[in-house]
Symmetry: C2
Subunit: 265 residues, 2 copies
């Protein structure tokens, strides 16, 4: 296996949140020779920010002779992109960073491939500390898994094996834990506007809710009107909410009550 060095020629395919954070974290550790994005402006911005002089929005112009290609684009676009790529060097290693796409999207097209899934939420303009981030890897053979692990270890000490099924299950858990929780905070923010209080007033509560999870399971940590079955409060709250907020309140309250009943059986 080729060791990964500062000379390892790497193409980043994508210029969104994941691509941007990965490119910035990897730029000093290997040689990023090109950024590809369908949106040439985004490709330009990311290339500029990491002092990479080469970027393109044309799939045909993606470098043919890189050592590693890292695909970090919207999940829905991965298969279509792979199908359009041709004439690359067959020794190259290809990885995607998706939680939900199986490794087999590369099958029959590439020789050396795998997945490199960082379990994290990436937003532009918000720094991430890769040292804290678990990275889940798989590959189509033992040589490639070693190289992908080496790539992952450039960013984080927390590298775990996960086949496609395990990774997809992890991804769904992460959608609930992060994406959906964040949407509830968006709703809280909207509700607070009527009180003229800033969202920051909720931060100690949110942080305390998270810190509790270091000590007890989330099921044991549950508080609030639903788990107490405080029906008058629940009814009053429902009467004050409209549309999608009411729907979410009802769905989550019923689920909390169901969970509590199961635990008490």
């Amino acid at each position: 296996m080729e060791r990964i060095t500062k000379n390892t020629r790497t193409v980043i395919i994508g210029a969104g949140n994941v691509a941007t954070h990965m490119a910035k974290a990897l730029r000093m550790r290997l040689n990023i020779i090109q950024i590809f994005s369908h949106d040439i402006e985004n490709a330009h911005i990311l290339a500029n920010s990491i002092d990479c002089t080469c970027f393109t929005s044309s799939i045909d112009d993606i470098s043919k002779d890189a050592d590693i290609y890292i695909i970090a684009i919207k999940d829905d676009a991965i298969e279509s992109l792979i199908s359009k790529i041709s004439n690359f060097t067959h020794s190259s290693l290809w990885v995607h960073t998706s939680g939900s796409k199986p490794m087999t999207v590369f099958e029959g097209k590439m020789n050396n491939y795998g997945v490199f899934y960082p379990l994290q939420t990436f937003s532009k303009n918000v720094e991430v500390n890769f040292q804290e981030i678990p990275i889940f890897v798989e590959a189509n053979d033992t040589k490639n898994i070693e190289q992908i692990k080496e790539l992952a270890h450039l960013l984080s000490p927390k590298v775990y094996d996960a086949d496609s099924d395990r990774r997809r299950q992890l991804h769904i858990a992460a959608v609930f834990a992060c994406n959906f929780a964040n949407h509830l905070w968006t709703i809280s923010d909207e509700l607070l506007r009527d009180t003229n209080l800033p969202f920051s007033i909720l931060m100690p509560l949110i942080r305390a809710s998270v810190n509790k999870l270091d000590k007890v399971s989330p099921a044991q940590s549950q508080t609030g009107p639903a788990v107490r079955n405080d029906t008058k409060v629940i009814e009053k709250h429902l009467s004050m909410l409209s549309d999608n907020k009411k729907e979410i309140y009802k769905t989550l309250t019923n689920s909390i009550i169901d969970s509590a009943n199961k635990t008490n059986l």
Copy 2:
């Protein structure tokens, strides 16, 4: 107004999570003379833990001559409890700690009353740092509001005025931000069981999601398949979920898509 001192005779009505944390935080700052709970065992445990020798489960035996009564029981039980209380000293100050009950539950029964609402999630066995907790107060006159503020300042520097409407709106925001978010973490925990990974694997992701909110609004912080409108991923996830998890996934995904559409208009 009487200043609150270590001699201020105080009765804690309740022995649940809120009552327990408040009693423990207040015990060195005023004189807790009695714990009441409908469950005599809980009253005993809490009284013991704060070296208070007097506890009761009989409403008729609640001390008649305390300076302050703090009601920290299930919201649904507050009105019924107040209706059963009689013959107390009319100069006493009564407060409840509920987010959702209006101050008027005391009207016509007590002379001096108000609300003392700590915006926090309390679980037995998990320490809280009251210094971080915002406390929202209201009272039936200016003398009482000063005394309740003094009581609140014994625990936290963050004391705010909030009438019953504002407090209820805050409470709903807190239910979404804390109770509902916690239930999503319970679901993540259940989903992870199939992967043989511990819930702690998600903690860096959850902490990063929270830390982002110090810098950008939750709406700006939103990531994941729903906000990207990654329909294939969403459909795949739905096909892997059952019952209440599927229902929650659908409801929250639709709400995220709606929010994103409104923002983009």
